[in-house]
């Protein structure tokens, strides 16, 4: 079992405790730099003016929402394949952050769409698949919360995460197909002439989003571990130390 040293909840709990603050600090620093570049360094866009600056939030959020779903599917596959409980906990810990980024991407997209396209919502391929991704997150969260037996909830959530991950490319492809067939909305994504500073700003913001997600997921996974493992001796001691009730 040495191979799976960090799959032991106790080891992972303390590891997560050490890593979470580190990632939190990284996230804060990167976000500060990224936001500075976004708002003060990056030049005003010739066509869109200042409004475009929302992409520094919008694009990283959209990326992150997809990455997190894939990460959930990855942990789910590991959990089902190797039977490691911590993998399921990780998957569960990631879900709310993924849903948050997904919502953020939709929200900032709507805010961006209003001044540039003249509408909050368009049945554009990307927005539509983002919306469906949000539904997948909701489904996952609702299912794992509806099942009372924790073990069943973990595995059922893993199955739906994997099924969803298999479907994401299909959904994206079909929505794109549908969008090109129905030329109802005459909206084109206005091209921004991306300059280097913009790209750097976006990348730094994306890294900040990564660090934030990892930090938050680790904090969340710690409380999930404590909750699930509260029967065990070490968790009991830990909970007592934190002034809780086992």
């Amino acid at each position: 079992m040495n191979l799976f040293k960090f799959s032991s909840p106790q080891t992972f709990y303390s590891l997560a405790g050490k890593l979470a603050p580190a990632f939190g600090v990284i996230a804060a620093v990167l976000a500060a730099i990224g936001l500075y570049i976004s708002f003060f360094v990056a030049p005003t866009d010739a066509v869109q003016g200042e409004v475009y600056r929302i992409i520094f939030i919008h694009v990283p959020a959209a990326w992150m929402s997809m990455v997190i779903y894939l990460a959930m599917a990855f942990w789910s596959a590991i959990g089902l394949g190797l039977g490691t409980r911590v993998s399921f906990y990780m998957s569960k810990a990631l879900a709310p952050t993924g849903a948050l980024f997904c919502f953020l991407a939709l929200w900032t997209g709507a805010l961006w769409g209003r001044p540039t396209w003249g509408t909050y919502w368009a049945w554009d391929a990307r927005m539509t698949s983002q919306l469906l991704l949000l539904f997948l997150y909701f489904g996952h969260i609702a299912l794992t919360n509806a099942i009372e037996d924790a073990r069943r909830a973990d595995k059922a959530g893993a199955i739906i995460a994997l099924v969803g991950a298999v479907n994401i490319p299909v959904i994206y492809f079909s929505v794109k197909w549908w969008n090109t067939l129905h030329q109802g909305s005459s909206i084109n994504l206005t091209k921004i002439s991306v300059v280097n500073t913009m790209l750097i700003g976006m990348l730094i913001m994306a890294l900040a989003a990564w660090a934030y997600s990892i930090a938050v997921a680790l904090v969340r996974v710690r409380s999930i571990i404590l909750e699930r493992e509260r029967r065990t001796e070490w968790a009991g001691v830990e909970i007592a130390a934190q002034g809780g009730r086992a």
């Binding site: 009372e148 037996d149 924790a150 509260r230 029967r231 009991g236 086992a246």
Partner: protein, 261 residues
Amino acid sequence: MQWQDPGTGLNSIAKAAPTARQKCNPDVVIFLTTKRLPDTPWRVVECTPMLEIHDLACLRGDRLLFRRLGLSVQAGELWRIAGANGVGKTSLLRLLCGLATPDEGEVRWQRKTIQQERESFHAALLYLGHASALNDLLTPLENLHFACAAAGDAVDTAACSAALTRIGLGQQLDLPTKVLSQGQRRRVGLARMLLATQRLLWILDEPFTALDVAAAAELAQVIAQHAKAGGMVIFTSHQDADFGMPVRTLDVGKFGGAFSA
């Protein structure tokens, strides 16, 4: 695998051979290997438990139902799982069948875990659970025939109706199951047992519930017969029944959870 009647001298060899942990049933000896023992004319072996439970633990939510539960069952044995309500008898039976995965420990069938040996184990298993596994819209005959076919037994309709007639449902063969009484539904399960004598291990959850005196006596007889023929029966029951043979008891309560969060 080969079954042999207890002949002279066999018992002593069988008793000498097994490892310390395993206790032998003196009535039946199973020959799994044909190693020749020194100083004896017998091509013997050891007395191998068919079903072994190791260090089993079962959690239900926050409650630890039992842990460190061990048991080894040999051919010809009759085991009654005892314990108060809610102590985990049904959970134990479901673990034994492989319907549930143990939180700790393992169940072995002929020395391999039942996960490894799923197909051969399920081929040798008859499980009758708390629910009757009958559909209200089908007739008892259709239900029984389906149960046999789905389990993989080649049993024809004639054999099914003969079994149902034998246990006293001859009049109800073509009625929908929903008009049957609770006891009559249980009798369909009894008919299933009659058709599954080739399955070595029977696991029965409360088989005596709702049966009248006559049916209960018949059930006890069927169970005892199965055990005497070299089968194994594990059952839960609150009633006492006369099997005409020794019944071993496992009290799940003794393995009860030492802690609950």
